[in-house]
Subunit: 367 residues, 4 copies
Amino acid sequence: MSGSIYGKLFSISTWGESHGPGIGVVVDGCPAGLSMNEDIIQAYLNRRKPGQTPYSTPRKEGDRVSILSGVFEGFTTGTPISLIVYNENQRSSDYSEIAGYYRPGQADFTYDAKYGFRDYRGSGRASGRETIGRVAAGAIAKSILKELGVEVCAYTKAIGPISINYNNCSKDNILKNPFSMPDMNAAQEAEAYLIKKMEEEDSVGGLIECLITGLPAGIGEPVFEKLDAVLARGLMSIGAIKGVEIGDGFKVATYSGSENNDSLFYDEKLGIVKSSNHAGGILGGISDGSEIVLRAAVKPTPSIAKTQKTINKNNENIEINIKGRHDPIIVPRAVVVVEAMAAITLVDYLFQNMTSRMDRVKEFYKK
Amino acid sequence: MSGSIYGKLFSISTWGESHGPGIGVVVDGCPAGLSMNEDIIQAYLNRRKPGQTPYSTPRKEGDRVSILSGVFEGFTTGTPISLIVYNENQRSSDYSEIAGYYRPGQADFTYDAKYGFRDYRGSGRASGRETIGRVAAGAIAKSILKELGVEVCAYTKAIGPISINYNNCSKDNILKNPFSMPDMNAAQEAEAYLIKKMEEEDSVGGLIECLITGLPAGIGEPVFEKLDAVLARGLMSIGAIKGVEIGDGFKVATYSGSENNDSLFYDEKLGIVKSSNHAGGILGGISDGSEIVLRAAVKPTPSIAKTQKTINKNNENIEINIKGRHDPIIVPRAVVVVEAMAAITLVDYLFQNMTSRMDRVKEFYKK
Amino acid sequence: MSGSIYGKLFSISTWGESHGPGIGVVVDGCPAGLSMNEDIIQAYLNRRKPGQTPYSTPRKEGDRVSILSGVFEGFTTGTPISLIVYNENQRSSDYSEIAGYYRPGQADFTYDAKYGFRDYRGSGRASGRETIGRVAAGAIAKSILKELGVEVCAYTKAIGPISINYNNCSKDNILKNPFSMPDMNAAQEAEAYLIKKMEEEDSVGGLIECLITGLPAGIGEPVFEKLDAVLARGLMSIGAIKGVEIGDGFKVATYSGSENNDSLFYDEKLGIVKSSNHAGGILGGISDGSEIVLRAAVKPTPSIAKTQKTINKNNENIEINIKGRHDPIIVPRAVVVVEAMAAITLVDYLFQNMTSRMDRVKEFYKK
Amino acid sequence: MSGSIYGKLFSISTWGESHGPGIGVVVDGCPAGLSMNEDIIQAYLNRRKPGQTPYSTPRKEGDRVSILSGVFEGFTTGTPISLIVYNENQRSSDYSEIAGYYRPGQADFTYDAKYGFRDYRGSGRASGRETIGRVAAGAIAKSILKELGVEVCAYTKAIGPISINYNNCSKDNILKNPFSMPDMNAAQEAEAYLIKKMEEEDSVGGLIECLITGLPAGIGEPVFEKLDAVLARGLMSIGAIKGVEIGDGFKVATYSGSENNDSLFYDEKLGIVKSSNHAGGILGGISDGSEIVLRAAVKPTPSIAKTQKTINKNNENIEINIKGRHDPIIVPRAVVVVEAMAAITLVDYLFQNMTSRMDRVKEFYKK
C-alpha cells in the first residue's frame, strides 16, 4: 500500500478526497533557502480552474491554498512543506444516488473491489480534485527548476480531431484560451466542437504535449530509473491518461534506423548540436541536453449525460443518466497536472544526479 | 543514483556490463517454498537468444544461468536469490574503435555526459545484454504468477509496416518463428522485409503487445503507484522503447465518451462482464478483473552499417560505418523482456494489495 | 533529503514546526475498514500533555486533532489519512532573543550548519511538538495492532537515580501519575527529586521501557530490516534518545553464552516456552513469539535556567540564561512517543511478513 | 519482504548463505571515477579472518573477492558493482545433525517460524558469513569517505570484564592483536580470559566502539533519518548486537542537564570548539562537526560445547552438545562489520545532504 508518496529525494505525499474537509500535499526534501509564498503556489493552482467556457460546470471552486509549515520569513527552511486547500461547495446530496451503482469508465467498481467499499461522494480519492496536491507541489518544483535554468511547458496538442498547427503556435497563447492550446485558431475550432459534444450529451479525449528545455545532459538513473521511464510513470499516474510517448513515440515503430537516428555535429557557435530529435532528448534513459518532448493521450470524460448501461451493487443490470453538468473534456485541466508531474520528477532526478561523479562530490565537500 | 533496483516488496537488483565477467540479478523478497531450479530459469532466458534467422548475428551467446543463493533442496528459502550468467565470446577488439566517438542513437554520448567516461566495450551497461538479469528474474516472477493463476503473454504485434492479423493468431505460434509473432503469415512477410532491410544496411522498429489474464480485480496502489503507471515505467525502462499505452491507448484521444466507456453487465453464467475493454483492464489505476492489454513502441536498432555522421571526442565532425553484423530489429528479442518486466511488476503489486483491507489482514493473522 | 517519511507499506509523513500554523501527519497504507474517529486519536494524543505536576510549564497546549481525509462513515477508506493539530498559544516573542545564539544541547547549531539558517522560534522542526504527528499516527497503528492481538506498552523505568521496583508495578498505574511510572512509590520519590532539580535550575534524564506482547513469531525482515534494527531506528529518531537496547541489552557484554542463551522447552499446556528471555523476544532479527523488551535512554532537558556558556552567530563567547519555565525532564512525555514509534514499526513489519511464504500468498488469492 | 537492500542513494544488496556456492553484494550508486580494484577490497575483507589465536576454529576461510561489474580500467563506472566470494571448505556433513532441532540463541527457530523451513546447513542466511557482503561494500564506502576526508575507526572496547584503558591506547594496535583492541595489555588479559572460557566450554560477549572523525557538520536527515537513528539501525542489523548508544549513551539517563549539555566556544586558532562531547557529535539528529562516538553491545557466541536443553522439530525436550570448535567470542570479528556499516551509512547521508540548500544545488548546476 502507501501508493500516495512519490519521489526519492524530493518527495510528495498527497491526501484528500473530493468531499472531505480538504485536499493537500506534504513536500519533503525541498532545499532550504528557496523563495516561497502562497501567491506563487496560488498562481499555479489557478491554472486548474474551470469556468471560462460557455459550457463549463457551475461548481465554483475557489481553491485557496495555505502553507502550514516549512516556510519561514519568505524562504523554505528545508523541513517538510505542508500545503492545504479546504474543500468548499461540495454538496454531498449531488452524489448520494450513485452510491448504489458503478458508473462506467470510473473507478467506482475497482475501488469497491480493492477496499470493500468506497467514499461514494463524487469520486472520493479517484476524483480529479486529487490533482490539487500535485499541482501545488508542482509550483514548488517549478520554482526550483527556474533557479536551475530548466523550463517545463505543457499544452493541449489536440482535442478530438482538432490539432494545433505548429506554424501557428506561441507559448503566450496557452493561457489565453480555455483549452490551453498554443494555437488560437485551433482553440476556436475546439470550442465549437465541444459545444456540439455537449449538445450530444457526450465528451471527447485529446493529446497533451510537454516540452522540457534547459535540462543539462546526464539526468536519469539507469536502468530502472531512466528519465523517460520515470516521466512515463509520473504522467500515467494522472487520471484519464492512457498512453505516454517520448520524441516521435509510437511512430518509430515504422521508422528505419537511418531515419530515426539523430546525428550529432559540432558547430563553432552553438557547440554540440543534434541534426534532428526523433529521440525526444533522452538516450539510454539519460537526457542529452536537447529539448525533451513528451506526449500523453487523455481519454474522454467518463461522466456523460447520455444514457448508459451498468450494474448496481446487487448485480442487477440497470440504465443510468449521470446528473449534473460535467465538462465534456478533461484535457485542458490536465495540462497543468502533466506539467507539475514532469517538474516534480525532474527535480528529483536533478538531485539524484549530483552524486554521479566522485570528482563533483569531492568538490562539493572540499574543506 | 542507485537506479538499478526495482520493486518494493519483490525487488530485483541488476548488475553487469556486456564485456565484464558476467551479468546478473539479485531477487529479494521471493516468498519461501516456491519450487525453483536452474532449468526453469534457463528455459525462459533462452527466449532472448538470437541465431535463428538468415541474417542474425554470428555472436554465439550461450548464456547459462547459475543460482548462487536463495534456493535449497529445490525450493526458495525466502532469502535473496542471486543469479549469474558469465559472459563468454565478447571480444573487446570488436569495439576498440568506437571508444573515440559517439554512435548515433546509442547512449555513448549521454553516459559520457553523466559519468565523465564510459566502458566503451559494446554498450557497457546500456547494452541489450543488461536485460539478462531482468529476464532471469522474470522467470521467477512468472512461477509465482502461475501459482496465483495469472498469465502474462507478450508477442510482436508489428514489424515496420507488417502487422499481425488477429483472425490468424494463436499463442502457440509465438515461439515457432524467430519474430515472436502469433501470426505465421505475418512472420513470413516480416522475414522477407527484414532481409531487404539488411541489404539496405538499415534497420526497422515495431510494436510489442502484452496480455495479462487472470489478474484479480483490486491490484494497483493509487495514486502514484497505479498499476498502469508502474507497468508503463517498467516497460519504458527497457532500452529502445519510446512509448507505452494501455487498452486503446493513443486512439482514445479521438474517441467520444460514449464510445470509450466500457459498460458492466451481469450474466447468470459468467458473472460480472464488460461489454467492451477500451480501458484495457485498468480503471482508476486498479485492475478490474478483465484482460489487461499493454502496448510498447520499439525503435529501430541504432547500430546500422550505413554511413552516418557524428562527432568524435575532440568535437570533430566525422563519418562512421559501424562494423560487424547487427540485427536489423530489436523487437523479437525485447518481447520476453517486456513480459518479464510486466511479470515482476505484477508480483510486487499482488503482494502490496494483501494489506488493502483490515478484515483480510486480521484473517491472515488469526491465531 | 526527505527524511520525514517513515515506513514501507504503512507509511507516515510528518510535518510542522512548533510555531507554524500547525503540526500534522499523513498516514498512507492504513487498510480499509478499520473503525476510526477523532476521539480515538485524541485520547492517545492527550497522553503527551503536560500540566499535571507542581512544576510543569504554564504553556497550555490544547492540541485538538482533526481528521481531514481517509475516513468515511466511521471507517478508514484505505486512502491516505491526513491528521492536523493547529498550534495555539505559541508566542513568538518568548523566543525572539534566541535567534542570535546557539543554545547548548539543542539543535540550533546543527540546523544552521545544514540549512544555512533556521526557524528560531522555539525549536522549529526540532521541537518536541514534532512528536504530535507521530503520536497521532501511533493511535491508528495501535488500533490495527489491537485487531491483530498485539499490545505495546511503554512506561518510565527510571528518572535519574530513581528506578521502579518490578515487585511493585502494575500497568494500571502508568496513567495515574504524571511520570508514566508503573510503580506509585517510585513516582512519589521522582516528584520530590524533580522539585529539587527545578530549584537547582537544572534537569535530569531517565529510562523508558517498552513491552510488546502477542506478536506472532516470524516478524522482521533479515538482514537490514531485522525487527530489532528497525525498532532501534524508530526509537532513536525520537529527540533526546541516546541509546536503545533489547532484552538484557548492554549487560550481555559481560554474560557468558551459557547464561545468555534462552532455552526452548515444550510444555503440555503452554506449548513452546522459553526458559528465560535474555534475547528480549527477537533472534536473528525475527520475533520468536515471546515478549519483546526494549529500552531507551533519554537525556536531560537541554533547556535549563542555569547560566550556560555558548557562542552567538558572530562567534563571540557569551553566557546565557534560558528564560521561561521548562520541564526538568523529558521522559514522561516521551513514553507515549516511544510506544507510538514501536506500534507504527510493528504494523509495517506485520504487513511485510504476509508475503514470507508462497503457500500463504496462494491461500490469500485462491479464487 | 526484500529486507536485504540497504541505503537510498548509495545502496547495497547482499545475498548468500554460509553453505551455498557463494556470498556477495551489489553496490548501486557508487559515483563514477573512484579508483577501485580487488586488492583494496580484499585487504578490508581480510580483517574478518579468524585463525590467529590458540583456540580459534580450524575452518580455514580463504575468502577471495572478485569484482564482476562496475569497474573499468581501475575506476568505478557509476554502474552497479557486483562483488562475490565463493564459498569453499564448507562441509555440509558438519551440520546435518542440527537439521532436526533448534539451537538455543540461534535463529533456527525464528527462521522456521517465518519461512516454514530453513537451510539448516550452518546458519544459512543467519550465518556470520553473511557479513562478507557488508564488509566488501564497506571497503568501497571507506574509499569514498577517504576522498572526503572522513575516517571511521572501530575497535573492541571490552571483552567480558576486561576493558581497554584509554591512557594505554593507540589506533596502530588494533590490527596487531587478534582481539582488535587498541590496548595491548588488555589484549593479553583478554587472551587469558578467553582460553579459560574455552576450557569451560563457554563463550563471552563484549563491547565495540566506533569513532567517526572529519565528518562535516550538517549530515543527517531529520526526523526519521536522523544520523544517530540510521547508524543505530545499521549497527543493530549486525547479528549478535543487542544495544547501540551514542556519546555517553545510557549514562545520560542519570546525568543532570548542566552536566550533559556540551557548550560551544570560539577559539582563535581552532575555530568553533565544544567544551565536552557528551552528545557524541550529533544533535537533533544532525552531525555537529565534532567526533562521533558510537558503541554496540555484542552478545556471547550462542554455539557452545556445553550441554544445553532445547526442543526438536517434534516438540520433544532434548539435550544437545554442539559439536565442532567455535570461537568463544564474536566481538573481534564484528569490529570490521561495525566499521563497514557505519561507513556505508555515512556515504549515503553525505550524498543526501548535498541537496539541503538551494544555493549549493544552484552552484552545482551553474552553466
